[in-house]
Amino acid sequence: MIKTLGTEDTLENAGLTDEEQQLFSNARPRAYEPYPIKAVEDFANWARANSLWILAFGTGCGAIELRPLMTARFDANRFGVAGRPTPRQSSVFIIGGYASVKTLKRIIRSYEQMQGPKFVIALGICPINGGMYFDSYNTVNRFDQYIPVDLYITGCMPRPEVLVAGIMELQNKIKAGRCDGANRYVENFDWYKANQKKVIKNWDMPDYNW
């Protein structure tokens, strides 16, 4: 059983059975408060920016360019980027292009399990406006309705070079303290949940996956 450090225990978790209700937390997520001293927060942001751990979850075509990115040719390790197999330890979620409804459910789960501050980069055209699959019955079109995205990189596929550029851009944004996607998610939690539940019809997981 997972104990959470959330604020209010008000989520309904209606998708769960009674038995499962006992196993999962029903707390709402809490926004990230910056450190009261600005210098500390800036320093923390600097450290965060220079140690970006990416969740190893290839959600779509974008995964194909993550491999060159992480290996010898582009060697993203140089920039403080590393892959992490578990969401608990990751701070960056790279959405690799389109998200089918089935994957979206896993993306939400993985995203919510990531510990803040966390950042999302959306790769390619599909998360922006549906891309190639704008008329597909199984892929979402506007990714920002389901998960807050901090940075979009357009392209199909975006090359590893532009991924490197994107990571640098994300670093700048984090250092400037402007990456507040996770907080947006908490503040507009009900809106996001409503959107998510609109497309995910078999909601059999807790409302917030702690």
């Binding site: 060697d75 055209i125 998360p127 550029a165």
Partner: protein, 606 residues
């Protein structure tokens, strides 16, 4: 386990002493390949806004949006492609299909933003750093997504064609027509350029579908002379056809002709199914040329009783008298006219206004008058001796031939002028067995006649002498002959920027003798039937009207159109004038029920 398997892996360490694979500054050191399909470039001056990119884009990533600075250019829709980089997949099909080759791709590929709404831009209009990239994807030479060359039409060979007045262009076969119709990209820029705004892409579409009846219906919506226009139209549509920018334009005229040729005249009433509900109004039309009959057709469809007054013996006006039958056989002109007449249009032949019936009388008797008397008086060359008996007017020669009379040109003929009438006169003369020389003031490229006509005249053996200015007509030794004195001309650039002017070279003069000289340098109007008072009211300038809205003249009941009221003086403009005047007359007679044509401005192409 053997020792080799244990030791051999240590060879990995070899690599430690080699140069790393890593690219040191990936974002700087690695631009896209020279042919990389990166972000879009549009040379907006070359773009004509045909929207083919929009049509071919499977992701609906391209919107056509108005770009104010390109609005109203000839052959340009004024729209420019706007890209949604939340949709584009950089397949480059838009570049491949681009009719003007204005759309290209740069080798730039990096666009990062935190705002998902930002990924839009109008290429070539919005300022983007990659607009001037030299590298990037271009369509390869020899790669086409539509056939660039038009389907050649069968023509009589020049040797055969000079032998008779048989129609030179033989028409497309069904297979040929379908192949040619297939080349259309359905942009509709031609619709705007066509004076009559015919639904060109739609009727071409109907050819692809094999539904010629629908094609005929579509054509009659804007033009009751499809058989005629399918042969002799000046086809400004083809001059703006985007397919013609890199290849040859779609043969719109021949396709129009093809549709008409497929439909039998006796099926017209069934296909067009014009239901006439009599309105009780009476309208008079002066002149049974294309303008007058066009007005008659559309007015009749509105239920008005139409009376056409024609000075000649037959209807058709200039189409009948001015266009030789090897270009427009009488049967085809009759096909168009017969249908119009069959709707109940009353044509009074041999009735000249001012002589047989008074203009004032018409104004009193009829609810409205449409005036399209055309240009029937040949212009003068304004040189000495031009009233010589052997100086014939081109129009007269053509009219004589059309009516089956012998124009009496002899066997050696000079034609003065470079317009279509000149070419027709020359080619008619060839058919009558004469040896023809065409004298024209400027260069061949400056000739106002259709390029095709010039080409065919030459093929048929007419000798064109460009830059030849007639100076004087001199009586020849024999009475049945005449001499012309002409001088060579040099083209001089106009300092004010106009087109080059021919300047006579006094030292290079020639004098030649011919059996006759055919003057075909233009025509003027004959508006003597109008009283002085009327002429003043109608604001006639240089023998032409300046019509207002809906072709209405200064007199409320009088509408004008045709050659006498427009600058282009071609059949299709006259047809549109007639159609538009019909609209105006309808508005005058039935102000409550009238609605101007408004088309829904949204929506995607059908």
């Amino acid at each position: 386990m053997n020792l080799r398997d244990l030791l051999s892996p240590f060879f990995v360490w070899q690599r430690a002493f080699e140069k790393p694979y890593t690219s040191i500054r990936p974002t700087i050191d690695r631009p896209g390949a020279p042919a990389y399909r990166g972000f879009h470039i549009n040379v907006s001056e070359e773009c004509v806004g045909c929207g083919s990119c929009h049509s071919i884009c499977q992701n609906h990533a391209i919107d056509m949006v108005p770009a104010a600075e390109f609005e109203g250019r000839t052959g340009d829709s004024g729209l420019r492609p706007r890209f949604d980089y939340g949709r584009c997949c950089w397949c480059g099909l838009c570049v491949d299909i681009c009719t003007a080759a204005s759309l290209r791709m740069s080798n730039e590929y990096a666009w990062i933003s935190e705002d998902p709404d930002e990924f839009h831009f109008t290429a070539g209009v919005d300022d983007k750093p990659w607009q001037n990239n030299e590298h990037g994807y271009r369509r390869a030479e020899g790669y086409h997504l539509y056939p660039p060359k038009r389907i050649e039409m069968d023509m009589l060979s020049p040797d055969e064609s000079v032998q008779s007045f048989e129609e030179v262009a033989r028409g497309y076969s069904e297979a040929q027509a379908k192949l040619e119709a297939d080349r259309c990209v359905e942009c509709g820029i031609c619709v705007a350029t066509c004076p009559a705004h015919m639904d060109v892409p739609d009727y071409i579409h109907s050819i692809r579908d094999g539904d010629y009846e629908k094609g005929l219906q579509l054509m009659y919506r804007t033009n009751p002379f499809p058989a005629t226009c399918g042969r002799i139209c000046t086809r400004r549509c083809e001059s703006v056809c985007p397919v013609g920018i890199l290849g040859e334009p779609v043969a719109i005229r021949w396709l129009k002709r093809f549709i008409v040729d497929q439909v039998d005249a006796k099926d017209y009433p069934r296909i067009l199914n014009d239901q006439i509900i009599e309105s009780g109004h009476r309208v008079a039309i002066i002149g049974a040329g294309p303008g007058g009959l066009s007005a008659a057709y559309y007015l009749r469809k509105k239920g008005h009783a139409v009376t056409v007054f024609e000075a000649g013996e037959t209807a058709g006006g200039m189409l009948r008298y001015g266009v030789p039958s090897y270009r427009l056989p009488d049967a085809d002109l009759d096909k168009d006219i017969a249908y119009i007449v069959s709707l109940g249009v009353d044509i009074r032949y041999n009735t000249r206004i001012g002589k047989d019936i008074d203009f004032e009388q018409l104004l009193q008797d009829y609810a409205a008058v449409f005036l399209s008397t055309g240009l029937s008086v040949p212009s003068n060359m304004r040189i000495q001796g031009e009233d010589h008996a052997r100086v014939l007017s081109g129009l007269q020669v053509l009219a004589d031939v059309a009516s089956g009379r012998d124009p009496g040109i002899g066997s050696r003929v000079a034609v003065i002028g470079g317009g279509n009438v000149a070419m027709d006169a020359a080619r008619v003369s060839r058919r009558l067995g004469a040896e023809v020389t065409i004298l024209y003031r400027r260069r061949i490229a400056d000739m106002p006649a259709d390029e095709e006509e010039i080409h065919e005249s030459q093929e048929e053996g007419c000798n064109i002498v460009p830059q030849a200015i007639p100076v004087e007509i001199i009586a020849a030794d024999k009475p049945q002959q005449v001499s012309i004195k002409w001088g060579e001309a040099e083209m001089v650039q106009d300092p004010t920027g106009g087109r080059p002017r021919p300047v006579l070279q006094e030292d290079r003069m020639h004098t030649d003798t011919y059996d006759c000289i055919i003057s075909a340098i233009g025509q003027g109007s004959d508006l003597d039937f109008l009283s002085k008072e009327n002429q003043q009211q109608l604001a006639i300038e240089w023998g032409k009207f300046t019509p207002g809205e809906y072709q209405q003249s200064a007199l409320q009941k009088v509408f004008v159109g045709g050659d006498v009221a427009n600058r282009t003086a071609d059949a299709i403009s006259a047809i549109e004038d007639g159609h538009h005047a019909a609209r105006g007359i309808e508005r005058l007679l039935n102000p409550d029920g009238f609605t101007a044509t408004q088309t829904d401005n949204t929506g995607e192409p059908a």
